[in-house]
């Protein structure tokens, strides 16, 4: 493994790529476990926000005036009409994608190789999961994704390699 040195996140845009953490979101919520949203606990609601199964306004107490700043903040994090691919749990924010194709090539490597006994072993070729279409990345063959295998392999290489925060695996 090559040596790696760390850096403090710099500009705003870089900082925005941090993923929302469940505990951080939980602390923003009313923490009353009122169940009005349909979730058993506020922590469960935080997880549902991340998986995009719930929206911030699904929490009735957040609609009260006292929680308006919190609601606005959550809307900023989870706002915008984004569609989660139901099969892979992959959320693609097209506005952020530059179509560099890094995710496409690392995903292709990932689905055609596996680590076996500490060695990288070649597997059979498969159609690629992702492709850049009209300048932004799209899922074109979800069945090739390691997450579609039985049992699923919860690979995150596409999300990890995106430098623009355009890809998020929410499931």
């Amino acid at each position: 493994m090559p040596g790696r040195n760390s850096t403090t996140r710099g500009r705003d845009e870089l900082a925005k790529r941090e993923r929302p953490q469940p505990l951080y979101l939980f602390q923003m919520l009313p923490r009353t476990n009122c169940k009005l949203c349909g979730c058993k606990t506020c922590m469960a609601f935080a997880f549902s926000l991340i998986s995009r199964d719930k929206k911030p306004e699904d929490c009735p107490p957040l609609l009260e005036d006292a929680y308006k700043p919190t609601l606005d903040q959550l809307k900023e994090i989870f706002g915008g009409d984004v569609e989660v691919n139901p099969d892979t749990g992959l959320l693609i924010e097209e506005d952020k994608c530059v179509g560099c194709g890094d995710c496409v090539v690392v995903c292709k490597k990932a689905i055609t190789t596996m680590v076996y006994g500490g060695m990288v072993v070649q597997r059979e070729d498969k159609p690629m999961v992702l492709q850049v279409v009209d300048g932004t990345v799209q899922v074109v063959n979800w069945r090739s994704c390691k997450r579609a295998e039985d049992p699923p392999d919860y690979c995150r290489v596409c999300e990890e390699k995106c430098r623009f925060g355009a890809l998020e695996l929410v499931k």
Binding site: N5, T7, R11, L14, G101, K108, F164
Partner: protein, 413 residues
């Protein structure tokens, strides 16, 4: 619906794996092109696309516009031809012939962006290699360049991610990545994760290079320069992708950089590839170099002379030309306002597929086809490899080669 392969002419990567779907002579889907490439391809079929002939803002026929242009060029005492970095080799070659026939000055954007570096490479003062060879490099260095914004597919299609071997299953190529940069970028972030980001202060590149040389010669130098040298020495094949950040910091003075590269070449295989922006700047440089020994800033009034005074910047600053033919470049949007205000007093003729700030102030506008999309031809990629362009869309709009050829014939008469 027809499917075609396309070479993208948005930047000097000239990505040749672009697939397009065409319905009724219009592109309806683009696969593999980045956001930059797709924007340009779709913009070429937008209603806002400018493809007509104008004299003083009035629509005229192609013949009228070409005749007026040839008259203006013939009458000019000191004509200047500028641009051609977004033209095919065939159009560039004709433009150089036109400059010769007119005894004009000819220059391109390389005269204020990386021209000196290309000159050193064409003169064999710096070692280089093709992008295909560069895939085997075990050390990739981006110096003063953030490819994610200038050449988005550079890492995935040509460099870091194309290394034949990967460690872990698809996570890290067996190649190390270094960035020398003045600020945090998407590229420096990935360098931090995969190897090293050398953050230097703006304008510090000459000092960094001098330090590397000093350490090679057994003297003391900066700590970061020492680490940089150690990384290069431990590699077996290192490619430096030199960007505009380095060029501006050195102000085009590459002597010390060349010395450093050549000394480094004594301990490992090293190559320099310029991160050129316009798709065929290197083509223009190559053609003019083959003819005159210089990549830009040439005057054909008495044979071929070369000098800083023939740069577009100096010509415009000193109000030398009385007529400028600009092809595929928009100096009004890309150069200092304090300089381009001088263009107001000069007769301007523009060849461009798009409506730009420069076409708006032009006396004559010749709308042309988009090369690599509506016309074929050849171009030279940033690494010096010649690539053939496909024509996928048919149009009645002529390409720049055809217009320049007509001008050349009329000027010769």
């Amino acid at each position: 619906m027809i499917q075609e392969k396309l070479v993208c002419t948005t930047c000097a990567c000239l990505c040749d794996d672009i697939e397009v779907e065409i319905e009724e002579n219009r592109i309806s889907k683009i696969r593999n092109a980045c956001r930059k490439g797709s924007s340009l391809i779709y913009a070429s079929q937008s209603d806002k696309r400018h493809a007509s002939y104008l004299i003083y803002g009035q629509k005229v026929s192609q013949d009228e516009a070409v005749e007026k242009t040839s008259r203006l060029l013939n009458q000019a005492e000191s004509p200047l031809l500028f641009g051609f970095d977004n033209s095919t080799l065939e159009a560039q070659s004709t433009a150089i012939e036109l400059a010769e026939a007119l005894g004009a000055t000819i220059d391109d954007t390389s005269s204020f962006r990386q021209g000196e570096l290309v000159q050193t490479i064409l003169s064999n003062l710096n070692p280089t290699c093709s992008l295909d060879e560069a895939k085997d490099a075990d050390l990739v260095i981006y110096w003063g360049s953030n490819p994610y914004h200038s050449h988005p597919r550079h890492l995935s299609h040509f460099s870091y991610y194309t290394h034949p071997k990967y460690e872990e299953a698809g996570w890290f190529p067996e190649s190390r990545l270094i960035s020398i940069e003045v600020r945090d970028t998407e590229t420096t972030e990935i360098c931090d994760k995969s190897f090293r980001f050398f953050r230097i202060l703006p304008g510090e590149d000459p000092d960094f290079i001098a330090s590397v040389l000093a350490i090679i010669e057994g003297k003391k130098g900066r700590e970061d320069a020492g680490e940089f040298l150690k990384s290069i020495k431990s590699s077996s094949f290192c490619v430096i992708y030199a960007g505009p950040g380095l060029d501006y910091s050195l102000d085009g003075e590459y002597q010390t950089f060349n010395r450093m590269v050549n000394r480094l070449g004594e301990c490992t295989r090293i190559a320099v590839i310029p991160m050129i922006d316009p798709y065929n700047m290197r083509g223009f440089n190559q053609l003019l170099f083959d003819k005159t020994g210089f990549v830009n800033r040439v005057n054909f009034a008495n044979g071929a002379s070369h000098g800083l005074e023939f740069s577009f910047l100096e010509q415009v600053r000193n109000n030398v030309p009385d007529c400028i033919l600009i092809a595929g470049s928009d100096p009004l949007s890309s150069l200092p306002d304090s300089l381009v205000k001088n263009l107001g007093d000069i007769t301007i003729i523009t060849l461009d597929p798009f409506l730009t700030a420069t076409t708006r102030i032009s006396d004559v506008v010749l709308g042309i086809a988009v090369s690599g999309l509506e016309t074929g031809g050849n171009a030279i990629r940033m690494d010096g490899t010649e690539i053939s362009l496909n024509r996928v869309i048919s149009t009645s709009i002529p390409g720049d080669e055809e217009i320049i050829r007509r001008l050349l014939d009329m000027v010769k008469r």
